[in-house]
Symmetry: C2
Subunit: 274 residues, 2 copies
C-alpha cells in the first residue's frame, strides 16, 4: 500500500502520538510506503480564504468557482497543492484524530475544506452523462480510507443506544459525506474509547487492534454505503420507495448490515468526555 | 433577547453575508440586543494549542487538564476569554455558516474546540451528585441556540430520504453533541438549500423565513432531544430498553416528533453541492 497518514493532535507525546507511531511502524515493517501529514507539526492553515486561490480580496469570493479555476490554472496555493499531491500519490488514507465535540479538530476539518474543492473531490463530471459523480464514484475513487479516532467517552455511551449517539452515525458527515462522497472506499472506523485514562492493558489491546486492522486493510469489507449509480436512488437522488421502505434518517443509506458490525470498539470504561 | 450572532463566511458580499445583515437588522428593529462574532473578520484562530493555556510547549499537553486549570486560574488566552464572555452575556446564540463537507467550516469548528473547555461546557459537575451534567443541564443551560446554514444541495437530497442524509441527523454532532450537550435549548435549524444559485424570489422567501424564525425564537418549540436527567437513560447512560424499544441509531435520542417536523427547509432546486 501507499499510505497517507493524516494526523491531527497537538502533542506527539499523547495517546494519539503513540498510536500513530505504532501504526506507521507496523506498516513500514510490512513493506508498505507511508507518507505523513502531521497537521500540527506542519502548522497547517485550516481556514479557506482568498489566498487559497490567488484571489483579489477586493472582489467577492465565490469559493466554488474560484477554487475550480485555481485548480485548472495551477494557481492553487502551494500548501494545498502539496497535500493534494500526497493524496493522489496514495492508494490508502488513514485519518487519525481525537474526537472533539463529536467531530474532527478544526485543523483537520480545514484540511478537507481546503483540499476537497470543486473539480477535485466534488463537481467531477461523468464524461458521458455530464452528471456530477459522487458516493462511490468521483475524483478519489479507487482509494481506501480508514478513520482512527480516540474518544473520551466509554464504549457504551457511544454505542448503538448510548447517550452520545451511535458513533457510526455521529461520524456520518466524515465517513459518508466527506470520504465516500468523492468515491473513496471507506472501511469501518477504529474507535478507541475511554481515551482520557487508558490503562496499560487497554492500550495494548488498542495497539493490537490497530496493527491487525492495518495489516488486513486491503481485504477489509467496506461500510456498505449505497452508491449514487447503483440504482438505489431515483433521478432526484432520493432513495427509491422499495429500499428501506417507510424508513427515514441516515441509517437508510446502508445497503445492508447491522449497526453492530459497522465499527469495532476498544478501550476503557472511563466516562469522561474529550 | 441578548443575541450572540456567530458567523463564519469568508466574504460579507455572499448570500450568507446578506442573510446575516437581514437577521441582525430585524432583531435590532424589534429591540433586541445583538453582539456579533464575525470569525473571518476577526481572523479567529481555530486551532487548539499550548498558547490557549499559557502552557509550556516543552511539556506534554493534556488538553482536558490544562484547559480547566487555565479557566480556573484566569490564564486562558485573551481571545478565548473574550468570546466566552460574549456567550455568557447572551441568552441566545445564532450559529450561521455555509455547510462545508456536511459540517461547519474549520474556523467555526475551532470556536467550539477552543471555547467549550472542561469546566465551562463539559465536566460541569452537579454539586449534589458529583456527576457531570450534560444534555439539557450543564454549563450553558438556560440559553437558546438556532443554527442557520446554507447548503448547495437541494432540499430533496438533504431530506429524510435524500442521498446526502437527512440534514437533521447530519447536523447531530453540532445540534446534539455541541449545543445540547452543555445544556443549551436547541430549536430546529433553518436550512437554506440550493444556495449556489438562489433565485431572487427564493432569496426573499429565505429572508422572510429567517425574520419569522428570529421573531418567534423565544416561543419556538425546541428539538425534543432526551435529557440526561430525564429518566430515559440508565445509570450507564444507555437508553432504557422501553424507550424506542429495539431501535438503534441517533434518531432514538428524540423523545418525540417526526423527522418532518424537526427542520424547516427553504431555497432552490439547484443540485450543486457546497
Amino acid at each position: 500500500m501507499r499510505v497517507l497518514w493524516l494526523y491531527a493532535h497537538p502533542d506527539p507525546r499523547s495517546l494519539n502520538g503513540a498510536l500513530r507511531d505504532e501504526g506507521i511502524a507496523v506498516l513500514r515493517e510490512h513493506g508498505h510506503e507511508v507518507v505523513e501529514s502531521d497537521l500540527y507539526a506542519m502548522e497547517w492553515n485550516p481556514v479557506v480564504g482568498h489566498g487559497d486561490f490567488q484571489h483579489d480580496p477586493g472582489e467577492r469570493l465565490d469559493v466554488l468557482t474560484e477554487s475550480q479555476a485555481a485548480l485548472e490554472n495551477g494557481t492553487l496555493s502551494e500548501d494545498i497543492r502539496a497535500e493534494q499531491e500526497k493524496l493522489l500519490w496514495s492508494d490508502t488514507l488513514v485519518v487519525q484524530f481525537p474526537l472533539w465535540w463529536f467531530g474532527p479538530p478544526a485543523i483537520l476539518k480545514g484540511w478537507f475544506d481546503r483540499l476537497f474543492i470543486q473539480g477535485f473531490a466534488q463537481g467531477v463530471l461523468d464524461p458521458e452523462t455530464g452528471r456530477a459523480q459522487r458516493y462511490g464514484s468521483g475524483g478519489l475513487a479507487g482509494r481506501r480510507a480508514l478513520v482512527l479516532t480516540t474518544v473520551g467517552a466509554n464504549a457504551a455511551t457511544t454505542g448503538p443506544r448510548g447517550i452520545h449517539g451511535d458513533i457510526n452515525e455521529v461520524l456520518f458527515p466524515l465517513l459518508h459525506g466527506t470520504l465516500w462522497y468523492p468515491g473513496m472506499t471507506v472501511v469501518p472506523p477504529l474507535v478507541v474509547n475511554g481515551a482520557v485514562k487508558l490503562a496499560e492493558a487497554e492500550y495494548k489491546t488498542a495497539v493490537g487492534q490497530l496493527r491487525q486492522r492495518l495489516l488486513t486493510l486491503e481485504e477489509t469489507e467496506p461500510i456498505p454505503y449505497r452508491s449514487q449509480n447503483g440504482g438505489d436512488y431515483d433521478e432526484h437522488l432520493v432513495l427509491r420507495p422499495d429500499r428501506a421502505p417507510g424508513e427515514e434518517g441516515i441509517h437508510i443509506h446502508y445497503a445492508a448490515g447491522g449497526i453492530d458490525e459497522r465499527c469495532e470498539r476498544t478501550g476503557g470504561d472511563d466516562e469522561a468526555d474529550r
